[in-house]
Amino acid sequence: MSDVPALEGGFADPAREAAAAFRGLLGAMARPGRIEPCGGAVPPAPMSIAAGSALLVLCDPDTPLHLAGPFDTAELGDWVAFHTGAPLASASECRFAVGPWEALQPLDRFAMGTPEYPDRSATLIVEMADLAAHGARLTGPGIETEAFLSLPEIAAFETNRRAFPRGLDFILTKGCHVAALPRTTKVE
């Protein structure tokens, strides 16, 4: 029964667990650099609990999803299909993409939104090897003075910020924790 893993690992109590996981995502996006809990779902390896939970909170048949690099497996595809119904799509057509940082490159494949509708841009869920409050210095909306976050690089985020109001938004996941980097954050 190779299908069984695909049927498992969803939210046990979808409404309440999704609400709690969303508050983690909302808190992370509203306060860039802050690391919040985000759990409830147990996706197949190599996807983290936080990335799987974020997909269950945000994705459904209305949101084309791109599985990048090592996440583009039949097992993960089946899991996502069963639990969210999100159609799998290429990088240029997706609303959400999930994978390690290297697999998501180059970033200019993803939708950046338009000047009239900058919200129509992709959100990238980046699976991190390390997620901690040190490293790159963050300033901008949501941050009182400054925050720090271990980021894979700096230049890509600066390029993204300069396109404001167009741009990508990032959700960074490791284990059962998330942080986020909206396009407004200045990264140094």
Binding site: A20, F22, L26, M29, D119, P141, T184
Partner: protein, 287 residues
């Protein structure tokens, strides 16, 4: 006790996902109005359907909810929305600002400073600050894209030329992070300085299908001119009940002979001050 006939917090999960996606984009684009597929709610448009949908998508079972209407916890709109979420989400409710984790508001910001653990949800009637200057959505959207806000300054200038001062007293436009001009909903301009807050602020316009947001510590500057700086004025009276000199006041007609009372619009703030022994001039005269 949650009403078992409804999903947690009333809305179905797919609707909540759609609203949650809009909320995250709104937070990432401070002051920009994100379109969303606003639903019919079991209350008419104009009664806070936008705020209710944002609150429903935000609430967790652990939240404590406060609802205010023009600052008051005990008016029809506030009471019915509070009861709605007591019944459909089973969340705890309160009237104390400091005890709430989510506060839904119509047309006021609480007097008490909000903390970073709180979320303020606004009910918004007309989210587009340029709507009364340009009725076409296609045009206002272009104006925001091009940062073309000259017409708004002309409107404020015409206020000055007609009245000698900027006569806009509520829904006073702000510029967010030097980019988007935003309608802070019909809060009195007295509340505008409080838009720069430690709390996350979410705005929901149900009839107009828009969601927007101000993350914490986000710049929101009230539009003005160098020679006519922004003035967050209020009635030049103390509160008649608690004597507060710094709170926003409602004018209440008390009889048919010209009698009137100025009292705090924030009922929780006023009740707390009176409980602490503060007495205002009107209450003193009645004793």
């Amino acid at each position: 006790m949650t009403d078992q006939h409804y999903n947690f917090a009333y809305l179905d999960e797919q609707t909540k996902r759609m609203i949650r996606r809009a909320l995250l984009k709104a937070v990432a684009l401070p002051g920009y109005q994100v379109p969303f597929a606003s639903r019919e709610m079991p209350m008419p448009y104009g009664w806070g359907t936008g705020g209710v949908q944002v609150t429903a998508a935000t609430l967790t079972p652990d939240d404590t909810l406060k609802v205010i209407d023009q600052g008051a916890d005990d008016t029809t709109n506030a009471v019915s929305i509070r009861k709605f979420f007591e019944r459909t989400a089973g969340v705890a409710t309160t009237t104390a600002t400091a005890e709430a984790s989510v506060i839904q508001t119509r047309h006021r910001i609480p007097e008490e400073d909000l903390t970073e653990d709180q979320i303020l949800v606004y009910q918004v009637p007309i989210p587009e600050p340029l709507r009364f200057l340009e009725p076409r959505e296609t045009e206002t959207r272009k104006m925001h894209a091009l940062e073309e806000y000259g017409a708004m300054h002309v409107k404020l200038y015409e206020d000055i030329s007609r009245h000698g001062h900027i006569a806009t007293a509520y829904a006073y436009p702000v510029k967010v992070e030097e980019r988007y001009v935003m309608d802070p909903s019909p809060i009195p301009k007295f509340d505008n300085p409080k838009l720069e807050s430690r709390a996350l602020q979410l705005f929901g316009a149900g009839r107009e299908h828009r969601i927007y947001a101000l993350p914490p510590h986000t710049k929101a500057v009230s539009l003005d001119f160098d020679d006519h700086p922004f003035d967050p004025s209020k009635a030049p009276h103390p509160c008649g009940l608690c004597g507060a000199e710094t709170s926003y006041l409602d004018e209440i007609i008390t009889d048919d002979r010209g009698g009137r009372l100025f009292a705090c619009s924030d009922t929780d703030f006023c009740a707390r001050r009176r409980a602490a022994g503060h007495v205002g001039p009107a209450l003193e005269a009645a004793l």
